[in-house]
């Protein structure tokens, strides 16, 4: 099918589509690598402290005993599930943050930002970079890529506790995490086209709809489906596992399964033998995607007990993350500054090499005596 080939040429298909197993294993390996790095970072800090302690103990001899707890020994890192919860928190935060500007940032753009964040955290861990550092940058990047222009100063004004440099600092990092692919194919526009076609088919009597107000029913189903796409689709992994056209059909199925089935059946009949081979597989795929969408429960939808439970869990993870956050990447602004400075002036090792060379030269000169040699008087005597 021509449309399928068009989609296959997109970066969303080429870079950002995974089977559920591949997705899980990717997250697992990311988590393991990040855990190692966090431990290594804490280890370095401990070593530095030891050296400091040793120097101090030289001054006040006898007093310096190994004091305080060892930070590297018992760093408890996040599990993959906990990491995912943190990323979810970041996604919901993006939705909230998008509301504060006037006019609020459109939901499609927030969805783009959320997908940026989700893609970024496939190969990066919240332990290395906390989502709160990344999400404003992701949102601002999404406004740029989707042509919804807003000046950075205005954007930053509306978000309390954020400065321009905080948004700017992680931009390259984020771009690299996104493998420099900024194209996110959303199912929202597809839903619009699909609903249009459903109504057209209905008008031409090619699709039979029951009920007293068939058009109203389609409208309602479309609204519910759109709601699914705005929230459930963003908070689950459907973008990685399914194509946009499958996602909007699944959302429609989750909203009004009879309508979706009737439409699919008529569509497949209309397509004829070309579509016969993929009919069964397509229905299965859409069904599983629809299940995924309808199984998602946002915090607001949950009952009180569950909400309490969720909040408690979130707090626990937050505390844990606070303890195992990579200390070397805490201040992204400083890290960026240092790196750019290094790029400009050469890395630390370069500097060391230069200073060592100078020292050697100086020593050599001192050994050989004065630059102009010994005084004439002395040589005569």
């Amino acid at each position: 099918m021509i449309e399928d080939d068009i989609y296959r040429s997109s970066t969303q298909y080429r870079y950002w589509s995974y089977t559920s197993e591949a997705l899980a294993s990717l997250r697992q390996s990311t988590n393991e690598l990040a855990s190692e790095r966090v431990r290594a970072a804490f280890g370095r800090i401990r070593d530095a402290k030891k050296v400091q302690n040793a120097q101090q103990s030289d001054h006040k001899s006898g007093e310096g005993v190994e004091g305080g707890q060892d930070p590297a020994k018992d760093v408890e890192t996040l599990t993959v599930e906990e990491e995912l919860r943190v990323v979810h928190w970041g996604c919901s935060k993006i939705i909230e943050t998008g509301k504060v500007t006037t006019p609020p940032i459109p939901m499609e753009i927030r969805a783009t930002a959320i997908q940026f964040l989700r893609r970024f955290y496939l190969t990066n861990s919240p332990m290395t970079y906390h989502p709160k550092q990344i999400l404003t940058c992701a949102l601002f990047l999404a406004t740029k890529t989707d042509h919804w222009h807003i000046p950075l100063s205005t954007f930053v004004d509306k978000i309390p506790g954020t400065e321009e440099k905080d948004v700017r600092a992680p931009e390259f990092l984020l771009m690299q995490g996104l493998r420099f692919t900024l194209d996110v194919r959303h199912p929202m526009r597809g839903l619009e086209g699909g609903v249009g076609e459903i109504l057209k088919l209905f008008e031409e009597k090619m699709l039979r709809l029951d009920g007293p107000d068939p058009k109203g029913r389609v409208g309602k189903a479309a609204d519910r489906a759109s709601q699914f796409l705005r929230v459930a689709a963003q908070m689950t992994d459907v973008y990685f596992l399914y194509t946009p056209s499958q996602i909007w059909l699944a959302a429609l199925m989750a909203a009004d399964s009879d309508l979706a089935n009737a439409y699919l059946a008529s569509k497949m009949d209309h397509l004829g033998p070309a579509a016969a081979s993929l009919r069964a597989k397509l229905e299965l795929t859409i069904r599983s995607c629809a299940d995924m969408l309808s199984n998602y429960k946002s915090e607001d939808e949950a009952n009180e007990v569950e909400q309490k439970e969720m909040k408690k869990e979130m707090k626990r993870i937050g505390r844990k993350l606070h303890l195992c956050q990579n200390p070397e990447k805490m201040d992204l602004v400083a890290v960026t500054k240092q790196k750019t400075a290094e790029k400009r002036e050469g890395s630390e090792s370069d500097k060391e090499r230069v200073s060592k060379k100078r020292k050697l030269e100086r020593e050599k000169l001192e050994r050989d005596g004065d630059v102009f040699g010994p005084s004439l008087k002395n040589s005569n005597a």
Binding site: S9, G177, G194, L241, S245, V335, T336
Partner: protein, 332 residues
């Protein structure tokens, strides 16, 4: 062997030229004109030509080998001399005749070597005829070749004529152009257009043949000339495709003229939108393309290689790019 016609009368312009038959001389008759026989190259005056072709029916020069063989000269066989030296006159005639038969063009040959070989071969045949060595054999070869390659000889001759005609017409065009430029120096626009028109026609070879490169060298039907290419008439130029082969049709849907209630109802009836040239069709098409692009891509199958993507190149690209476990290294 020395030609009989060359012993006497090879200086046409000299004042005391004498006709060997009637002994008239230009000294007495200022307007006496001579003609030569294209077979034996004997030179006699115009009056004698008239007389001989109507009565005697053979070359009147004593010792002429053609006359001895009983060859009857016709009026058409006498013509005015071009070159002072009759030997050159004869060689040029032979050259003309042979070249009209062996009229292959360079682009017909498979390699430069083959073309050079052909030229050498042709020169050899010409010199055989000029120097009268192996005349019979050479003539036989030529006539055999002529019979076997009648079509190609005709085509090449036509091409040559065409090229000559084109050259001529171009020449006249250029002259006209120059005239025009001189006459109307102010009408620069007109002139430019004319110039480009004539310049454009320069590149088109008159009915040139297209070369098929794949086959190896072949020889002509008579087997005389070797190392030829196979040629065929040029195929018609392809129509320009701005989409470079990209499909513009759709499989999953057919675009309708209008769709109900796609949040555009208001805009559709708004003259301001319409006046601005907003293309609703394009909007519908984009929406429907988004709705169906990738409907038949099953990631769980295609990414594990069970149902590979449609094209092979894409399959390799996808396989190379989507390797999981590629972790970003230290970015900063």
């Amino acid at each position: 062997m020395v030609m009989s016609g060359m012993q006497n009368g090879h200086i046409a312009s000299e004042a005391d030229d004498i006709c060997p038959v009637c002994k008239n001389s230009t000294y007495l008759q200022k307007n006496l004109r001579f003609k030569i026989n294209t077979k034996c190259y004997h030179r006699i005056c115009e009056g004698c030509v008239d007389r001989i072709t109507s009565t005697q029916k053979k070359c009147p020069i004593a010792g002429c080998t053609f006359a001895a063989r009983g060859v009857i000269p016709r009026r058409g066989e006498y013509r005015v001399q071009t070159f002072e030296d009759l030997a050159i006159e004869r060689e040029v005639d032979i050259r003309k005749r042979v070249m009209a038969i062996l009229n292959r063009r360079e682009e017909e040959f498979y390699s430069k070597r083959a073309w050079d070989d052909f030229l050498e071969q042709r020169e050899e045949l010409i010199m055989n005829l000029v120097l009268k060595t192996d005349v019979k054999k050479t003539e036989a070869t030529l006539s055999k070749y002529k019979e076997a390659n009648a079509d190609s000889i005709k085509a090449n001759a036509a091409l040559e004529r065409n090229a000559a005609a084109q050259f001529e017409s171009r020449q006249t065009l250029q002259k006209e152009q120059a005239n025009l430029r001189r006459q109307a120096a102010q009408q620069t626009y007109e002139d430019d257009r004319f110039h480009t028109l004539t310049a454009g026609s320069r590149d088109v070879k008159a009915g040139a043949m297209e070369v098929i490169h794949d086959d190896g060298p072949v020889s002509d039907p008579s087997g005389l000339v070797k190392g030829l290419r196979k040629l065929r008439p040029p195929s018609p130029e392809k129509v320009y495709d701005p989409f470079m082969g990209m499909a513009t049709t759709r499989d999953y849907y057919g675009l309708q003229a209008d769709y109900p209630s796609m949040r555009l109802t208001k805009a559709k009836n708004d003259t301001r939108t319409r006046a601005g040239g907003f293309d609703f069709q394009a909007y519908y098409d984009e929406s429907l393309l988004r709705a169906f692009a990738g409907l038949g891509c099953f990631i769980d199958k295609e990414k594990t290689g069970q149902g590979p993507p449609a094209t092979r190149e894409l399959a390799t690209v996808v396989a190379a790019e989507s390797l999981p476990g590629r972790i970003n290294d230290e970015v900063f």
